[in-house]
Point group: C2
Chain length 769, copies 2
């Protein structure tokens, strides 16, 4: 943990001073993205120190051949990998004949990075003394345009400080890139064509196997004191997969020289001819020019913040942390394209193949629903609808289900499973439940029922069929059981009757049954179309209901808690507080069998059920289960603290709630797990948002209304957040004495605060003590 490395600031992430050992971590933290592409904060110029190069294009992946020690039936043969894309940011720089490389300079001073989250740009500046004695000042600004989302731009400025300098700028595009994490040292990119005209250059390459075609492009302008010199390149070096141009200038001491490089990708997902498209994209960018592109960027981010900002008064680190989380979520996914989803590392690293986990439904959708237009959450639901056929195929071909039962993959890019550990891939089936729950949650929050007859019902039917077939009747218990699963707590494998799984299975069937009935009454033509398509007879429905109505739930009457699984009470129930701290984290200190037979819990499991279905249980039940299970929870998943924080707040355990909140909000900025160099924990960032809004703010949606029960950690003076509820933006300002509600819109909004209805009218802040 490095709590003091990143400088506290309300709106920016700031690093000061050059530390070669921190380069890889900072490359993650200062990553930029615009939903369509993203990149780690690699240096533009050459760097021979330790670095982890990464540029990523949304939706572009490669099926890496599966590598396992022992093959188990049902494993997929390929694993869709996040792919390191061709590099367009590179600019080699020669200063008086010497290649600029911070790792080789005799001195580097005044090094500073800033990621300006308010305006959406990344800046790096430093002074360097080269071996040849030339001293220079460098200032580089880079951003990926949100308005022109195939374009990024770099403004690279050099000022010779102690003498005149001959500067040669050598910007390049390189498709000869590899992944750090690949199973078989295969090449992923096949170069197709290299082309240049004037200041423009293009490398077209396609991925092996998946055949995504990508044109990576650049356009370069060299300026002196911000005046375009209209230089043409003196030279082009080309190879099969790389092109590099050269611009030479003589710069007087103290004068500022710069190169502006426009770059990016056009991809065959969006264009029939990626090369022509790239030429057009460059023209659009040039027509705007650097200053206008930057202003557009600032405006676009202002709009994003307008809807999604959270302010925290009196705690700059907490303020910086929550904004970093909101910023990264928006860099990763903007919701424009239902083919995309939210990868666990976003565009900040390549670890974990695939882009989509149940994190999206369980943790991310609430954030996007409340901070974007409803179309964004609907696109995330549609993503699963579009992959329904593959989920059915997966259940049938790999796992032996039938008649349209669907099991969504644990991890996916294109609908196919991307993970190979039987205990996860084949047994962590509760993910299917979260996908159904998200449909319910979307309707609950937005009030938009149309998604269900249009698309959602088919997904629900596939999922309900899966649960019906997956449960079996236990003669011994005279009830239905679900054997051999892994629950959300992945520190238990192949367990029987995981309470969470059994509960959500029953809920899925019941909810689907209700929706079928509702659609048949309210949308009869959709009902007819769907029932014919999926061949669903009333008799099958009655079979489902038998399972749902007779589902077994393990519990302890004595302790008054549901049991995480059968046999949980056989464990050696030593609470975490009595565990020798030298043994933690247990997933690093203990062999896997020891983790499994211990009572320790990685992330909310029974409590995840209480989170999703809070209103099904009494507060007393929540309290007993929370106190029992939290005492065994080691929170070794970044997704763990948020649910506990929300529940602790609901139970008036505000100190505990605040401690949990702190654990996530600066997880990456303070590098708690010493792994941020691999990339940031994007999906858990949505949990941080939930901790504030649902936890401290106590926001819920019940009966088509927003409910709040505002609380505030004693460490803060005040905080505020905004909720986009059914087209109106509600702003909530909370301090220690009162909460103020105001609405941005033209209609009044009735909310419920601490169980009392409150009418919030436009232009009229309502204060509740």
């Amino acid at each position: 943990m490095n709590q003091d490395y990143i400088k506290p600031d309300n709106w920016s992430i700031i690093e000061e001073g050059f530390d070669a050992e921190s380069v890889k971590s900072s490359e993650s933290l200062f990553s930029i993205g615009n939903g369509a592409m993203g990149q780690r904060a690699n240096f533009e110029e050459s760097y021979t120190g330790k670095t982890f190069q990464g540029s990523y294009i949304a939706g572009i992946y490669y099926p890496d051949k599966t590598k396992v020690g022992w093959w188990k039936n049902g494993y997929p043969e390929y694993f869709a990998k996040v792919l390191n894309a061709p590099n367009w940011i590179g600019i080699d720089i020669e200063i008086n004949g010497e290649n600029l490389d911070m790792n080789a300079c005799t001195e580097v001073t005044d090094f500073r990075r800033e990621l300006n989250m308010k305006e959406g740009w990344y800046n790096r500046s430093f002074k360097a003394k080269l071996k040849n004695g030339t001293e220079i000042a460098v200032n580089v600004t880079r951003f990926l345009s949100i308005t022109l989302d195939e374009v990024g731009i770099i403004n690279y400025e050099i000022t010779p400080l102690n003498k005149d300098a001959k500067i040669v700028y050598k910007p390049y595009i390189d498709a000869g890139v590899t992944n750090e994490d690949a199973n078989w040292d295969e090449k992923f990119w096949e170069p197709l064509e290299v082309k240049h005209i004037g200041n423009e250059a293009f490398v077209t390459a396609q991925t092996f196997k998946t055949h995504f075609k990508v044109t990576t492009f650049m356009h370069n302008s060299v300026l002196e004191n911000d005046r375009n010199l209209n230089l043409s390149p003196t030279n082009f070096d080309t190879s099969a997969d790389k092109i590099q141009s050269s611009y030479a200038v003589i710069v007087a001491q103290g004068k500022k020289s710069s190169i502006q490089k426009i770059g990016g990708y056009t991809v065959s997902l969006n264009h029939a001819n990626t090369l022509t498209a790239a030429e057009k994209v460059i023209q659009s960018a040039l027509a705007k020019g650097y200053d206008q592109l930057l202003q557009d960027q600032i405006d676009a981010w202002a709009k994003i913040w307008e809807m999604s900002d959270i302010t925290i008064d009196g705690d700059v680190k907490a303020q910086q942390g929550i904004r970093f989380n909101i910023f990264q979520l928006n860099q990763t996914y903007l919701g424009k394209d239902s083919r995309l989803n939210i990868g666990p590392k976003g565009f900040t690293g390549e670890k974990y193949g695939g882009s989509t986990y149940w994190d999206t439904e369980a943790y991310c959708i609430p954030f996007y629903m409340a901070t974007k237009d409803q179309e964004v959450a609907r696109n995330l639901l549609t993503y699963r609808y579009n992959q329904l056929d593959k989920a059915i195929e997966n259940a049938e071909k790999n796992l032996g289900f039938k008649d349209g039962a669907a099991l969504y993959p644990m991890v996916t890019m294109n609908g196919e499973e991307c993970h190979n550990e039987w205990e996860i891939t084949h047994e962590e089936i509760h993910r299917n439940g979260a996908i159904a729950f998200a449909i319910f949650n979307y309707h609950r929050f937005t009030g938009d029922y149309s998604y269900i007859p249009e698309k959602g019902l088919e997904v629900l039917i596939g999922i309900a069929r899966f649960w019906h077939q997956r449960a079996n009747f236990s003669k011994d218990k005279n009830q239905y059981v679900i054997l051999g699963v892994t629950g959300p707590n992945e520190y238990e494998n192949n367990i029987n009757n995981n309470f969470y799984t059994n509960y959500i299975a029953k809920w899925c069937i019941d909810y689907t049954y209700e929706q079928i009935k509702k659609v048949s009454l309210e949308f009869p033509s959709d009902h007819k179309r769907i029932i014919e398509k999926v061949k669903l007879a009333e008799a099958e429905l009655q079979e489902w209901k038998k399972v749902a109505d007779n589902m077994y739930f393990p519990k302890s009457e004595e302790l008054g808690v549901y049991l995480q699984q059968d046999g949980f009470l056989d464990k050696d129930l030593v609470p975490v507080k009595d565990l020798d701290p030298s043994q933690r984290p247990i997933n690093q200190k203990w062999s896997w069998d020891r983790v499994l037979r211990s009572p320790y819990i990685k992330q909310a499991d029974v409590l995840q059920c209480f989170y999703f279905f809070e209103e099904h249980f009494s507060k007393e039940e929540l309290k007993r289960n929370f106190e029992f299970y939290e005492s065994f929870t080691v929170h070794e998943s970044s997704l763990s603290p948020c649910v506990h924080s929300i529940q602790a707040a609901a139970l008036d355990k505000m100190d505990m709630a605040y401690t949990f909140y702190l654990r996530t909000s600066r997880l990456d900025l303070d590098d708690y797990n010493k792994e941020v160099e691999e990339g940031c924990h994007i999906t858990s960032m949505a949990g941080t948002w939930m901790s504030i809004v649902e936890g401290f703010g106590g926001m819920r949606v019940k009966n088509n209304a927003l409910h709040f029960s505002p609380k505030i950690p004693k460490e803060w003076k005040a905080y505020s957040f905004k909720i986009n509820f059914r087209g109106q933006i509600l702003k909530v300002d909370i301090n220690h004495s009162e909460t103020a509600f105001s609405v941005d819109g033209t209609e009044e909004l009735t909310i419920v605060v601490n169980n009392n209805a409150v009418v919030v009218s436009p232009y009229n802040t309502v204060t509740v003590k």
Copy 2:
């Protein structure tokens, strides 16, 4: 399954006719070995068809770097692999300028292989017409000497049939060999020295990492009509890792030419200077000459058969099957060296790294005890004693145990774990029980208690400590439980309270406790030495006893059976007979999760307990448990049928017993699983022996006496076997009307037949109706 491919014969394995598609399978079936080395039946001359090259040296292995998809704490970094050793059998042959290659001949006729099990040699003969029109007859005999166990010999005869022939023999040694099954395409052998003198040549190489040094040698003599021509090689071709000499002869039509090649290995495990040793070994072999070496071989095998033969009258395929099993077991392990053990593929293939599984203790030791001198079984026990330190280290460093608790590896070569699936490696801990049971079984059978105070007690204490620490107290059950294990039925993983594991855990503690008390009384100085060495206090013993005395065993009072594990009765209990045959074998047709939640059993689990501890249970209990569990058993392990065969015989289900017997005895000869090309199933062959002796013959050892309850399958006329019991060889002849007992020795032997004592005197066959 290819039931008619191998010709039925009482004493030989015979293949007739050349089938290129069967070459790899026959290479396995016709493998030869002498306990110290072994080799697949690869052709000596060039062969461009499909082949799987394999020569193996006992005790020589390579630590292959572990390859897994997802690393789990506690996995070993390396995996000891059976290593393909340098090839010394190769002889390239030129006939009138054309290289002999059966795959390139215009015609191959009269192809025949014979593995003569009675005499221990392998012969191959064929006629071939080469592209150049020359027709030849070839006859090759090869064996690995049992008396000089570093030596093998080949007599390769060629007779030109239709014209005179210029024959060039080009025998070679090649250390440039690789494994088919390796994780990282690494080279395993580093060549050190190549040397030749006269007709002798030597290649010395060492394994990377393990640094076993091996000199592979050859000596060649060329003969005409069995007369040594005393030729010297005309040429030597050498490279860094290969040497090849040439001998040219002109052979008249109809005359027989031959080359005799002596070859083999001297290894640094046995010699300080392997090169000098190789020179001496060649001299010893030459001093004997081919004919005497062959006669010694015949004599040595006669001695082996004298003690271990089983005859079956009236069923030649069953006769051939059981002899093949006994022959292969003796080829694999002769018990001379306590550093060696019985690999699952013996010297017939390289699949599965490591050499030692719990198969040795559970299945092989009974065979070796009854068919060899007791020293052999004692060597197998000593193998584990010598690896005790590593078992303690494994438990401590990898798995978090302490104070001298020992967990033996699932698979090992040198005491270190060679397997990486957490559900097996870390959870299939019952193996520790079999290792303790073998100590008990050795004493029960041989009456030799000395092993326990000398060595066995330390092993028992390490194992008892493991069980004591591995169990935990369940407040819920108010008993000790063992959570998170895999039982002998590997179709269940991470289960709680596997009956077999809990039972053997309790038994290990109780047995160890008794032995400590006995040794303290009868061998006080050993007791003192051991207790001081292992630091065992009486208080710790009392803690052990608490666990043993309060161990929990799952059972169903209603069904009158012990439960394989907690929750077994929750399964969908469809017996195997009602399972759609298209779904079998389930381990090939079903995904792993489906296998796990099914009730289907791979091999005896609860019934393994009834096998080991038969006298602890009533026949009625055996019957109920057998009938319940066998109905769910799919027998998808080669180790499964034997235990069931023995129990079916005990329950007078002779048809069932015979069916189980058939399943194993010709498993490889008839290639039931279509995988014999990978090698033979060596360890399960001991189970076949058990099926006859303990199953049909009903042999048990109780109170220092052999007990029998002879039965005979209706398909046989008669059968006989021999038991080496405490220095006397008892022969048992069983037919449908009576059983005859005779003893080879000077003292009378009291046995118990169908619960009646019978005295068998030397030179006096006793017959029991």
